[in-house]
Subunit: 383 residues, 2 copies
């Protein structure tokens, strides 16, 4: 019933995906076989004539081994051509339909150069961001403008205080978009001006980073407005706009600013230990592949539930060898307080961005002094 | 330390979100209080001066009640203005950061007219799609072009056979994008022509529906190419491109074709019973809000794991009263075979689209006869 298969030449290059599969060895082998079909032809394999589709389109089980975290790790490889060299289709091949089946977790992705080379990756990365901010060695310091409900002027006043007192990166809270409280244009112009004014006074290089997460047709215009207003970076949440929108913005030469990814709406991929996508792939590999220069995620011990090992796994993916793709900063945050900085230095080392939001206010009544205290702590890191 | 709050006038309209929270009543109350802050100001509430932010920005707990599915259902309302009337920010308010916390599941969303009115919703919906296809009463029939690896000509031959033998909607498999096997332009032109030719011969109104899921800058051009080639609808996966991209395409008057949403990469939201987003909200309410005319999801008893109740919940959300937003078709699929059509008629009634892919091939060697058998089954539905 099926007609001609295509006669295109395939390179032989393959994408490897590692799935942790719950169950016994026999169950894991059977599930791996199903994944290899589900993620590719989605068709009864016994109805497909011998030839190219069996040999080159259906996924190939490369390895199955027991893991010490329960279940089995199956390595399945796919012809690189089935990704169409598109990020969206790569994500679909990795986990599209299989995401709907419980007991399957994506633990790793390895790409051939023919695919990785299609991605520009981060424009700045760790060293580029250090150069931009003029900070060669110490951890970087980041905070968020909030709470929502403040006027643009009040947010700009906060931005000035942060920038004038040693905070390197002042980002919008990720819930600030274009609300009536502080509309996008007014807020971005006010806060950009405030940070530039503080820099002029201190000789510093702090940057303001507005949140451009928004309707599809507004993302690029908001990024351009930020650029023209004198902002120094962009915040975007791939869980809300799609990973490919991050790639699009990060790769735009007319924008050319650092991009930080935010984890909003991505939690469901990691809350179940046996399903979804691993912390390292979701918050490390994927944002880096898309060109984010830093990845924001909840730190261990804050008000979220990530473990120290999960945070280390993310950090490892931000810095490990990844073809031509630059290493990026882990940016752990979420319910941190200043007192935990020494412990975090121990986990992350110096190549980290400390994100402290509300905690910067709760240390004491003098916000400027709290910022300076935070800055001094980061300066004391022994390089 | 905090400056002026904004002086914008708020309408008093509120968005209600229902969260099922695991744990005891005391734990659920505490978690609800945390959600109301996390999803809005993300700031220590005791550091915020009395006034607008407490009264109008922080979420308000409206109800907490025990559920028979375990845990407690908390109703939390938010000022509509904090959504900025943007779909992306609405999703962020509903579940952005709280998605990262286990034991919280979104079970329902209710919007005031001031927000719902910003959404056009489906262009066709159930009655519009029935009119377009000329099918007033019976269930609609859908199949997918696959397996990947066939040439455009072979896929077009399949499309012709399907359209000529009683299949109403012939969609791309969601893994077909722009691979070398059957590139987007060639495939869409060939398959559109094949279905139009079949229609000319039969007097029918079958439609071909290519998959436009792809890089952000290619989605709209691919939709336009489909329109110009004579395709009759579009397939798109919000889990890969973001829900707002679906809204953008469905609302584009220059395209004006039915849009079907596909569940790829969305499974992680539903695989854990106590976390994520309910089946009804994820596969019913949200695609409908974005303007999809039908929502594809795995049917009970197929190769995925949805229960009959979960499928009924999705179906309910496709048709229940929802302001001016048209009702849409549930399109259950995934590993179905023809023999299950009578059982599905029992669950879904006539307002359903049966999606049968590989199963259409496995019934017997004559694909045309399999299609006609499938068509006769749908025709026998007692209206």
């Amino acid at each position: 019933m099926l007609g001609r298969v295509a006669d295109c030449q395939l390179s032989g290059d393959r994408v490897f995906v590692y799935y942790r599969i719950a169950g016994t060895e026999a169950e894991a082998c059977e599930k791996a076989r199903i994944i290899a079909v589900e993620q590719t032809v989605e068709f009864p394999a016994d109805l497909i004539p011998p030839g190219l589709i069996h040999e080159k389109v259906i996924g190939r089980i490369e390895s199955i081994q027991k893991t010490d975290r329960g279940g089995y790790l199956a390595g399945i490889s796919y012809s690189v051509e089935i990704t169409a060299f598109e990020l969206t289709q790569l994500l679909n091949v990795v986990f599209g339909n299989s995401s709907i089946k419980p007991g399957i977790r994506v633990e790793g992705i390895e790409m051939p150069e023919s695919l990785l080379g299609r991605f520009e990756g981060p424009r700045f990365g760790r060293s580029g961001l250090r150069n931009l901010l003029g900070i060669p060695g110490r951890p970087l310091l980041c905070t968020a403008l909030k709470p929502m409900g403040l006027s643009s002027g009040a947010l700009a006043d906060l931005a000035y205080t942060f920038a004038a007192n040693g905070i390197d990166i002042i980002k919008d809270d990720h819930g600030l978009t274009d609300q009536c409280f502080a509309g996008y244009r007014e807020r971005v112009e006010s806060c950009s001006e405030a940070v530039l004014r503080a820099n002029k006074e201190t000789g510093g290089k702090a940057i303001y980073m507005p949140n451009i997460t928004g309707p599809v047709d507004d993302i690029l215009p908001r990024a351009r407005l930020a650029r023209n207003a004198g902002a120094g970076g962009l915040l975007i949440a791939p869980g809300l706009v799609g990973f490919d929108a991050v790639r699009r913005i990060a790769g735009d030469d007319s924008i050319g600013m650092p991009v930080f990814s935010h984890p909003a709406l991505q939690g469901s991929f990691v809350v179940s230990p046996d399903s979804g996508i691993s912390h390292g792939v979701l918050f490390g590999l994927l944002p880096r592949l898309c060109g984010a220069d830093a990845t924001i995620y909840p730190n261990v011990g804050g008000r979220f539930s990530f473990s120290a090992d999960e945070c280390r796994e993310i950090t490892a993916h931000t810095g490990t060898a990844f073809g031509h793709i630059r290493s990026i900063f882990p940016c752990p945050g979420g319910g941190m307080d200043i007192g935990r900085v020494p412990e975090m230095l121990d986990i992350y080392g110096r190549d980290v961005i400390f994100l402290i939001g509300g905690g910067l206010f709760s240390r004491g009544p003098d916000l400027a002094e709290n910022c300076r205290f935070f800055h001094r702590l980061a300066e004391t890191y022994p390089v």
